[in-house]
Symmetry: C2
Subunit: 433 residues, 2 copies
Amino acid sequence: MSDKQVVVVGAGFAGLNAAKRLGNVPGIAVTVIDRENHHLFQPLLYQVAMAALSPADIAAPIRSLLAKYRNIRVLKATAQSIDTVNRKVVTDSDVGDVPYDYLLLGCGAQHAYFGHEEWEPHAPGLKSLPQATEIRRRVLEAFEIAERESNPEERRRQLTFIVIGGGPTGVELAGAIGEMSRFTLDRDFRSIDPRQTRVILVEAGPRILTSFDDKLASRAMRDLESLGVQVWTGARVTDVTSDGVVIGNDKIAAATVLWAAGVRAADIGRSLGAALDPAGRVITKSDCTIEGHPEVFVIGDMSSRAGSNGRPLPGVALVAMQEGVFAADIIKKEVRSGAPVTRPAFEYVDLGQMATIGRSRAISEFRGWKLTGVPAWWFWLLVHIYRLSGFRNRLSVLVHWAWSYITFERGARLIIAKDWQSYPDKAASPGNS
Amino acid sequence: MSDKQVVVVGAGFAGLNAAKRLGNVPGIAVTVIDRENHHLFQPLLYQVAMAALSPADIAAPIRSLLAKYRNIRVLKATAQSIDTVNRKVVTDSDVGDVPYDYLLLGCGAQHAYFGHEEWEPHAPGLKSLPQATEIRRRVLEAFEIAERESNPEERRRQLTFIVIGGGPTGVELAGAIGEMSRFTLDRDFRSIDPRQTRVILVEAGPRILTSFDDKLASRAMRDLESLGVQVWTGARVTDVTSDGVVIGNDKIAAATVLWAAGVRAADIGRSLGAALDPAGRVITKSDCTIEGHPEVFVIGDMSSRAGSNGRPLPGVALVAMQEGVFAADIIKKEVRSGAPVTRPAFEYVDLGQMATIGRSRAISEFRGWKLTGVPAWWFWLLVHIYRLSGFRNRLSVLVHWAWSYITFERGARLIIAKDWQSYPDKAASPGNS
């Protein structure tokens, strides 16, 4: 009997953990398809945007992570749709369609603008490395422009940073800008005082960090304010332009606007023909598969399903990792027994959640424990160092953090030009070869 | 009496060292103008191109490096020309022209295609960070395409890498590709054997590394060959296209071609009205100034001048650093005495030169000593770690090197998309804001 073909689409937390679980299992051949060559440690992506870490510190090649599993091959290609009838993944690459016996679909989510995609050029979101380095470029460039600027009004606009969305990402971005302007850039400018920077965190709802306990969220708000961040709750953004942001009838001039307000599941989910929730997530059964297709698992941020408490599972790494392992275990069992098995329901083991607010401050909930301030920050640091995949990244991140902690410096304060050509006029730019 | 205005254009090795020398000197106000926000440690740029280091590991913000000197301000702007009559630097920024009493011009060089600028899209050179990450992307992507490719001819083309130019940069690039394909990528692919990679180093002259002793160059050539690099000397490239390279009448199909064959001084030198050499370098007097303008110093790779042995000074960091310090000392002396002083002639203290060839091998000449193999490589490593500016970069690079040395891994194997927008069709791309 030939090996069962398991195709994993997306090497995020869900897909990578599923693939590892299936690594070197007899009777199973795995193909991992991802359009990137690297797995991204998303929880630290904001640190790349805030010039604290380099892209390579939070990304590891998928091939390296899976090299030791001889039954896994990695295909760098974009999956375009799923043909559930003929059981194959349609890709854009020369290899064409990839047939499967089991499919694990975990392509994650991207930020969404609630129908205002025209805001994106003015308010980048934070889901990928190119977005992170673009945000880094904009934030650092704003200080450079302010330093050269003689018009006080324009200088004020350059020094105004608006972060839209009061979830963990928005809080982490706003806190980091506040901290960076107060401590890191402090000595480096002559004409401006970086401490005059205005950082505004805008949230449409009545409070920030709604997934957290009220007390912890209040503490986070006080921590933000101590870094000079203004927190505006109940403020709904009605327009974003190249000049700034409109909230109700007020126009706030700001050169840098960052978007952390909403997500939408990857488009490929639509091709399954299954029911979707309003954010485009695929509604899955208790065993993480879709109706009528016990061979198709949808895992991670792409899937929508209520937890045992009736509330929808949050779009966090821990859920994705556990779902990946859960789905892989069902496949292993069925391949071993050679027949369909009774499937358990996925149970999320909620270990907690956390968010950092600048230097030395955080909030965390862990198995009922609640921590704030410096202890929460140390706990956050330990957990993230521990979870970083690959020893080298971990060591490198530790070195960078230790250095930043001691010196208040940021290690990756780079503004890098987008274009690499020195002679742009003399030759047409070719396609990516 | 007001402070003497010293303007430093370009924060490379020459300009940065000149500025530091003038830091906190009474009676002198310094403006450093650079179009980038960072100083780049060019000798390790090939390691970024070869996925061993991250851009931030070899770049440090100019502002941070000079923050402690309160008489220095840094201006991120592009200097467009020099008005030597009215003694000012014309910039593209809002600050307009920057007047000077003394000018230190050190804008370096870029690669040149000897009148074939149309080759650049097919054969990037290595002078900047965007070029380094573009080369990284091309090299890594070639292996990915080869893995998916079923046509053996096209697969062979994807696995053929041609490096044009047998100087230190060409040797380092070719050696690193040879090493990477043999050791690092070894286990990671299923359909291709990365060891079947062809790496060809093409040199028009009779031998590689002409600035080195003949014996050392021969040793480097043997080291390259042991990594599978073919060295073709006396081979003149007559065309570079998207398919590959033409040498004489032979067409060699190659998906990746890298250019390390020639340099040309920065264009701004032309605006001085001084004599230029064929590579566009400004011909300077023995005190590093130009004829008729004792207040204009041209330093580093932009200048052309014979050393005491009659041969032109090489375009290396050591010359640039020494020239920067030399010019700054003359300015300090004149400002202190309040009148022109008798100027000494610049004397280059030649400490030697070195080049690495992949893992554990190098050649070096140091004060008459000649080293090869592993000792030369350790010596190379110590010198470069020592010279890296900024403790954090140094520590980070050490960690990355140690890790790579033990594991044969490369820490920055990232293929990063160029475009950051998720919704590219729905909104026009704005200018850089």
